[in-house]
Structures are given as structure tokens and as C-alpha cells.
């Protein structure tokens, strides 16, 4: 009975706190998390396709560059990359500004936290996406590439009509995994001060001393985000492979 009472009491405090404005803040946090994740995925898609192309190249030097990129950015702690871009960016910007004399010798130009975070998470996401794209390219039937060549298609035409549509189709499940990974990585950029979900939960926990409540709510919201994306990617997969399903 005592337990039930305390539980009820807890729940009413929780409701009060969330209604007092933290709920809205957390919703904004979700918005920022989704923004960070989406922008990072786009940066990652651009970098990932370039790196995948480099890894599949005939030139040994390009292959080596591509390999190093994926090895380094999948092998380093995400936190380290984020610090590198945020604090390193500040170091570079400050150095440039000081040498041009636009700021005083003791002033500092901070890296914009959103930009730094998004670049870092995007580059990590790019390393994983490169592997996905490379795998999808290798899954394309060799005969199709040979047929396209036999038709006299130029490299660009081959890429546009034969390679790209198939790589995109085959990459959908893998991209779904990378998306989930990127959502979780985006929580780490709270260390740079982007007001996404994790940092909002942090602020709420510190200023109200209800850390259990706010971290649980944050955890649930992350679960909601990751579990909503699963059916969306499933649907995308069904849609993109609709002409490849076997008749029942």
C-alpha cells in the first residue's frame, strides 16, 4: 500500500514537471535529435558513396584511402571524433582568426556546436554507409554491367541507369541499420552543447533533481524513435523491391 502511494505521488510529480514546460522542451529535443540525425545521414550518404567508389576503384592508392577512411572512422570512439571536430574546429578557427588579426590574441572563436556535431556524426555515419553501398554494388549481377557495356553505354549512363537504381534498392535495409546507429550516436553530441534530446534531459535532471524520471523519459523517447523507424524502413524496402517479390 505504501509502495502504491509513493508510486502515485511520483507519477503526479512527473506529470507536474512535464506539464510545467519540460515536456515541451523534450519535444524540441526530439526535433533537434531528428534534425542532427537527418543532416548527418545526408553528409554520410555523400561521403559514403564517394568512399565506396574509392574502395571499389582500380587504383590501389584510392582503394587504400577508402580502406583507411572506413577503418579509422569505424575504429575510433565516436566521442573522440566528436571532440576532435568540436574542439579541433575551435582550435583551427581561432588560429585562422588570430593570424588574420580579426580578433585579439586572447579571444577565441568557437566552432558552431551544431556544425561540429553534425560533421562528426556525418563522417562516422559515412564510414558505415560506405560499407553498405559497397556491399550493394557487389551484389549487382556482373552480367548486367557487362550487358550495359555491350550496349555501348557511357560510364555515366551505366551509373545512372544500371548501377544507381540497384544500389539504392539493395542498400535500403543496410541504411535502416545505419539510421538507427546514427540516432544513437547523435546522443553523444550533447557534449558539445546542441540542445538535442540527451542534453535537454540532462538539463532537466540537473535543475529538478529528478534524474531517474528524465533519463527514463529520454530512454523511452529514443526507443520510440528507433522503433518507429523500423516499420518505415520495412515499408521502403517493400516499395523499392516491389517488382522483385516472388509470386505466392
Amino acid at each position: 500500500m505504501e509502495f502504491l502511494n509513493s508510486l502515485l505521488e511520483q507519477m503526479s510529480t512527473a506529470y507536474d514537471l512535464l506539464a510545467a514546460g519540460w515536456g515541451v522542451q523534450l519535444l524540441w529535443g526530439i526535433g533537434w535529435t531528428l534534425a542532427v540525425t537527418s543532416v548527418s545521414m545526408v553528409i554520410g550518404a555523400v561521403l559514403g558513396s564517394l568512399v565506396a567508389a574509392a574502395k571499389l576503384s582500380h587504383r590501389a592508392r584510392l582503394r587504400f584511402l577508402g580502406e583507411s577512411y572506413t577503418t579509422v572512422f569505424r575504429g575510433e570512439p565516436e566521442l573522440l571524433i566528436i571532440y576532435l571536430f568540436y574542439y579541433g574546429g575551435t582550435q583551427v578557427l581561432t588560429g585562422v582568426a588570430r593570424s588574420t588579426g580579426s580578433i585579439g590574441p586572447t579571444d577565441i572563436v568557437n566552432m558552431p556546436s551544431f556544425l561540429g556535431g553534425v560533421l562528426a556524426v556525418g563522417i562516422i555515419s559515412g564510414a558505415y554507409q560506405a560499407e553498405v553501398f559497397r556491399g550493394s554494388f557487389l551484389a549487382i549481377h556482373r552480367g548486367e554491367l557487362e550487358a550495359a557495356r555491350a550496349y555501348g553505354m557511357s560510364a555515366w549512363l551505366r551509373f545512372r541507369l544500371v548501377i544507381m537504381p540497384q544500389v539504392l534498392r539493395l542498400a535500403v535495409p543496410g541504411l535502416g541499420n545505419v539510421w538507427q546507429l546514427t540516432i544513437k550516436d547523435s546522443a553523444l553530441i550533447s557534449v558539445t552543447g546542441v540542445a538535442e534530446l540527451m542534453l535537454t534531459a540532462n538539463k532537466a535532471a540537473r535543475s529538478t533533481h529528478h534524474s531517474l524520471l528524465f533519463y527514463t523519459v529520454a530512454g523511452i523517447l529514443y526507443l520510440v524513435m528507433t522503433s518507429i523507424s523500423t516499420p518505415i524502413f520495412d515499408r521502403a524496402e517493400r516499395y523499392t523491391s516491389r517488382s522483385f517479390t516472388r509470386p505466392k
Binding site: 577503418t71 579509422v72 569505424r74 575504429g75 575510433e76 570512439p77 565516436e78 566521442l79 573522440l80 571532440y83 576532435l84 574542439y87 579541433g88 575551435t90 582550435q91 583551427v92 538507427q180 540516432i183 544513437k184 550516436d185 546522443a187 553523444l188 550533447s190 557534449v191 540527451m198 534531459a201 540532462n202 535532471a205 529528478h210 534524474s211 531517474l212 533519463y215 527514463t216 529520454a218 530512454g219 529514443y222 526507443l223 528507433t226 522503433s227
Partner: protein
């Protein structure tokens, strides 16, 4: 180029390597125990066991490790019974133990899925053959299913171990001075983040590459029967790339 600075930074960060390895090792060891329990629960055939493991995997794979760490470190201490418990409180007030607990719980979710997949991938013919030999269920598991499943699980397991090495860096956000925490401190003292983080990055990368090599070697050593005959083996890379 300031070689003295690089060298002294390298050395300071390296001095924190034992602490990183300690978190890493205990996280993986406890994680393995929990994962074994989860896999057993899932394979036991009880519906409730299956629901529990499904929920567990869903929760721990679907949310960031950082949230789990904060929840354990800052969140659980709100309960009075945790603060007054003679067993729980010494564990949950120490950031080091909290990191290990969070890592173990998190990796157990991924590992139990790896083990489940590996158990399902054991060829049915092998199990049928063992049955035909009249082996008991336990003998069958011990000398047929388990060895095959472990070998099948190895590649995915090595990836998970590397993810754990990366996860040890999160300990720095709860004030542990492992490699990342040490690098952070040097960086704040000197305001040369690029140099300091590069030094730490090199160490992390070497650590992960050696773990990957080690697992590739174990995998190679455990599958002599899957390798091609000696005369053809020259054309094939002996050590598969893992990382």
C-alpha cells in the same frame, strides 16, 4: 612539429590504458555471463522467457548507451532502498562500477542476438547425425552444437568487442580518467585538442586493430577443416580482414 609534446601526451594517455582495459575486460566478462543467461532463456522454449529476452534486447539496443549509463549512475540513486542497500549502494555510487554495469547490460543484448543466430545456424544435419549416434542432449550440445555455434558466432562477436572498446570512452563523461578522460584533461590544460586527440586516436586505433587481428587469428586457427587444400592456399589471403 613539437615531438616532445606528442611524446609526453602519448605517454600520459598510455598510462591510462590499464584503466581502459579494466573497464573493457569486466564489461565484456559480465556481459558474456548475462548474454549466456539470456540466450539460454530464449532457447529454453518458455514463452515468458522469450518475451523477457525480446523486451530486454529491444530496450538495450534501441536506446543510446549514454542514456543507459546516466540512468544507472544518476537515476538509480534516487531510490531510497538503493541508497540504503549494503550491496547495491557501494556498486551504484562508484562511476567505475556503473560504467561496467551499463556496458555489460548493453553488450549482453547484442551478444545474446549473436549467439541466438549462431545456434540457429548450426546445420540440422550435424545435430541429426549426433542424435543418430545416440548422444544424450547434453553430450550433443557439448561436442556438436556448442563448438560449431561458437565458431559461427566469432566474426560478429569480434565486431561487438570492438564496439565495446569504443564504448569505454564513455566512461570519461562520468569522471573516470581512462584514456579519453586523460586526453580531455590534457586538451583542456594545453588547448591543443587536435594534437592531443590525434595521439589518443592512434592508441585507440592500434588497440582495435590488434583486437581485430587477434580474432582473425583465432578464427583462422579454429577452422582448419574449412580451408582449401594446401596447394591452392597460396592464392588465398590467410588472414581474413575483420575490421
Amino acid at each position: 612539429m613539437d615531438f616532445d609534446f606528442y611524446l609526453s601526451t602519448m605517454w600520459s594517455v598510455l598510462k591510462a590504458l590499464p584503466l581502459t582495459l579494466e573497464i573493457w575486460f569486466f564489461g565484456i566478462a559480465f556481459g558474456l555471463v548475462i548474454a549466456t543467461g539470456l540466450t539460454w532463456l530464449r532457447a529454453s522454449g518458455y514463452k515468458s522467457g522469450e518475451y523477457f529476452t525480446r523486451a530486454y534486447v529491444f530496450i538495450f539496443r534501441g536506446s543510446p548507451l549514454l542514456v543507459q549509463l546516466y540512468l544507472i549512475y544518476f537515476g538509480l540513486s534516487q531510490f531510497d532502498f538503493v541508497r540504503h542497500s549494503p550491496i547495491l549502494w557501494p556498486i551504484l555510487r562508484d562511476p567505475m562500477y556503473c560504467t561496467i554495469v551499463a556496458m555489460a547490460l548493453n553488450t549482453a543484448a547484442y551478444e545474446s542476438e549473436i549467439f541466438r543466430g549462431a545456434l540457429r545456424a548450426v546445420p540440422v544435419g550435424q545435430i541429426e547425425a549426433a542424435k543418430a549416434f545416440g548422444m544424450s542432449a547434453f553430450t550433443r550440445f557439448r561436442i556438436v552444437t556448442l563448438p560449431i555455434a561458437l565458431r559461427l558466432a566469432l566474426p560478429a562477436y569480434s565486431t561487438e568487442i570492438i564496439l565495446m572498446t569504443k564504448a569505454t570512452a564513455l566512461a570519461s563523461v562520468v569522471t573516470i580518467m581512462e584514456m579519453m578522460g586523460t586526453a580531455q584533461k590534457i586538451q583542456h590544460d594545453t588547448f591543443r585538442p587536435i594534437e592531443v586527440l590525434t595521439c589518443a586516436g592512434v592508441i585507440y586505433l592500434l588497440l582495435n586493430l590488434s583486437i581485430a587481428r587477434l580474432f582473425a587469428w583465432v578464427e583462422y586457427a579454429l577452422s582448419p577443416h574449412l580451408r582449401p587444400a594446401p596447394d591452392r592456399s597460396q592464392q588465398i589471403k590467410p588472414v581474413p580482414e575483420v575490421l
